[in-house]
């Protein structure tokens, strides 16, 4: 942004976590051009994590409540961020315009696709019955919360984070809850066997029925079109007046694809989060980016990832940095009174080590070879924070060091910072 020329306008498609952060971060870095944030949801940008947690239980903030807004309306006015309601239906990369469903068009100097993801539907008969829910938006959460208030038997399909959080909220609201999972354990894609085992115990201990290795083949309803049962491959029928489908999401790539941009599992971007077109970036849940260290393409679904991407793009557009994206991924989930936090990305480990001997509060260190790759912390927030620092700094920790008696991540971090203790001071 040099000289007096009018800076090009930035248009952001999608006003979720990533879209909001892009706009806010542009202003924070002094961007003075026009910023247009287009939202298909008729709501101010809000945070999604509580939708599957406190919001569902009925005692937390209701979906749509201003408690969930990321910023109040005055913020957008004060920062000159144009919040536009509408769905973008086409991008014309040659003319550098986007078109909304209502026909309005916006010119852009740079376009940011922050379109997020949509829940994957369950492809079985009966999936459209009343009482069957997916959860992505505040609107979805409001519908689910209303159904839950009237339900007795809730069945959750899919034991991923979203499914388990919903199951916990339903159980805490006093419903009979069954979770059906096709694989043989929960959180199979996300956490180590040890952590998964903890969550199995946690949910069972709270009285939730967990069925693993079971396929749902159909949802059955009454003649009012309301769900009454979930039918499994083994012929069992689980009574259900509420079904939550939590079987993953599909990145919203259709705009990018129609505009001729490369798309795979997500909009394909380079290490600077640029698509095939130098005037278009893609961020957050919809973007598949190369992990700098491994070169492997990743698509992550987390607040941290959306925010980190957004900030990188804002810095690039304001000339503050041309860096590659290499922020450490991290994630959290709350279920009952348990918080699990994950730092790093486990792309295959060969050694697992557990810190802490409390079965309800421990951290699992995941190593590949001699390097620490990721840390899962259950009710150990201090470990999580230390792990974030440590992994950010390259993860210098060998399995042998972690095995030493009295080892703590915080202590290790302090030793790295201060350098090895001089021999004459002695250790211990």
């Amino acid at each position: 942004m040099t000289g007096d020329a009018q800076p090009p306008s930035v248009v952001i498609v999608g006003a979720g976590q990533g879209g909001y952060e892009t706009a806010a971060s542009l202003r924070e870095h002094g961007y003075r051009g026009r910023v247009t944030l287009i939202s298909a949801e008729d709501a101010l940008p809000y945070e999604r994590p509580p939708l599957s947690k406190a919001c569902l239980k009925g005692d937390g903030a209701a979906p749509g409540d201003e408690q969930l807004w990321l910023r109040p309306p005055t913020y957008y006015a004060r920062q000159s961020i144009d919040l536009v309601g509408g769905t973008v239906t086409a991008v014309d990369p040659a003319a550098r315009t986007v078109r909304l469903r209502d026909g309005t068009a916006y010119d852009y100097g740079h376009l940011v696709l922050a379109t997020g993801a949509r829940p994957r539907p369950l492809d079985v008969p009966g999936a459209a019955l009343r009482g069957v829910h997916t959860l992505r938006t505040a609107r979805d959460a409001a519908a689910l919360r209303a159904s839950l208030a009237a339900a007795q038997y809730a069945v959750v399909v899919g034991a991923g984070f979203l499914g388990l959080e919903c199951a916990a909220a339903a159980r805490e609201s006093g419903r009979a809850v069954t979770v059906v999972e096709a694989l043989d354990r929960p959180l199979a894609r996300a956490v180590s066997a040890r952590t998964a085992e903890h969550f199995t115990r946690l949910h069972r201990g709270e009285g939730t029925r967990l069925l693993f290795g079971q396929q749902v083949v159909a949802l059955r309803g009454d003649w009012h079109g309301k769900v009454t049962a979930v039918e499994l491959a083994d012929g069992r029928r689980l009574p259900a007046d509420l079904v939550v489908i939590g079987v993953g999401v599909t990145p919203r790539t259709e705009l990018a694809a129609a505009a001729g941009l490369p798309v795979g599992d997500g909009v394909t971007v380079d290490a600077r989060l640029l698509t095939g077109d130098p005037h278009i970036s893609a961020i957050g849940d919809c973007a598949a980016f190369p992990q700098v260290r491994s070169g492997k393409r990743l698509r992550l679904e987390s607040v941290q990832n959306a925010v980190g991407h957004a900030r990188l793009v804002a810095k690039r557009l304001t000339g503050a940095s041309r860096a590659h994206y290499q922020e450490l991924p991290w994630f959290w989930s709350d279920q009952f009174a348990t918080t699990v936090q994950i730092a790093g990305h486990d792309d295959g480990h060969d050694t697992e080590m557990v810190l802490g001997d409390d079965p309800d509060a421990f951290s699992v260190l995941l190593f590949r070879g001699e390097g620490l790759r990721a840390v899962e912390s259950v009710n150990r927030p201090g470990d999580h924070m230390a792990a974030r620092r440590l992994l950010d700094g390259g993860g210098r920790l060998k399995p042998g060091e972690a095995a030493a008696p009295g080892f703590t991540l915080k202590g290790h971090l302090a030793r790295l910072r201060d350098g090895p203790a001089p021999a004459r001071r002695g250790v211990s």
Binding site: E47, P49, L68, Y75, W332, P381, G382, M385
Partner: protein, 107 residues
């Protein structure tokens, strides 16, 4: 409504009525107080809602619980004895008159 005073880095003081049940962080964010970033929106994950509670009002607060205490070791500005995470400070009548200072940086 309990009144919370936010003191900016430049010394400007803003007195805000913050509804009980919400947090000192939300009171800041919803009133456009600069310098409370609250990246994780109050989920105790980011330490970017750090405040220094004024010495004269710090006794109104319950001590930090372990998760807050751990996060306070990771603030962008140095931790001091009166450092708190504003998202962990639930506003109650007992907090009426609380004064918090916004640190220079959050990230």
């Amino acid at each position: 409504m309990p009144e919370i005073t936010y003191v900016g880095v430049d010394g400007t003081r803003r007195r805000i009525d913050v509804p009980a049940g919400t947090s000192v962080m939300r009171g800041a964010v919803f009133n456009d107080i600069d310098g409370i970033v609250a990246q994780c929106a109050g989920n105790a994950q980011c330490a970017t809602c750090h405040v220094y509670v004024d010495d004269t009002t710090v006794d109104r607060l319950e001590p930090a619980r372990p998760d807050e205490d751990d996060l306070l070791d990771f603030t962008a500005c140095p931790r001091r004895p009166t450092s708190r995470l504003s998202c962990r400070l639930t506003v109650t009548a007992a907090l009426d008159g609380l004064i918090v200072h916004v640190p220079e940086r959050q990230k």
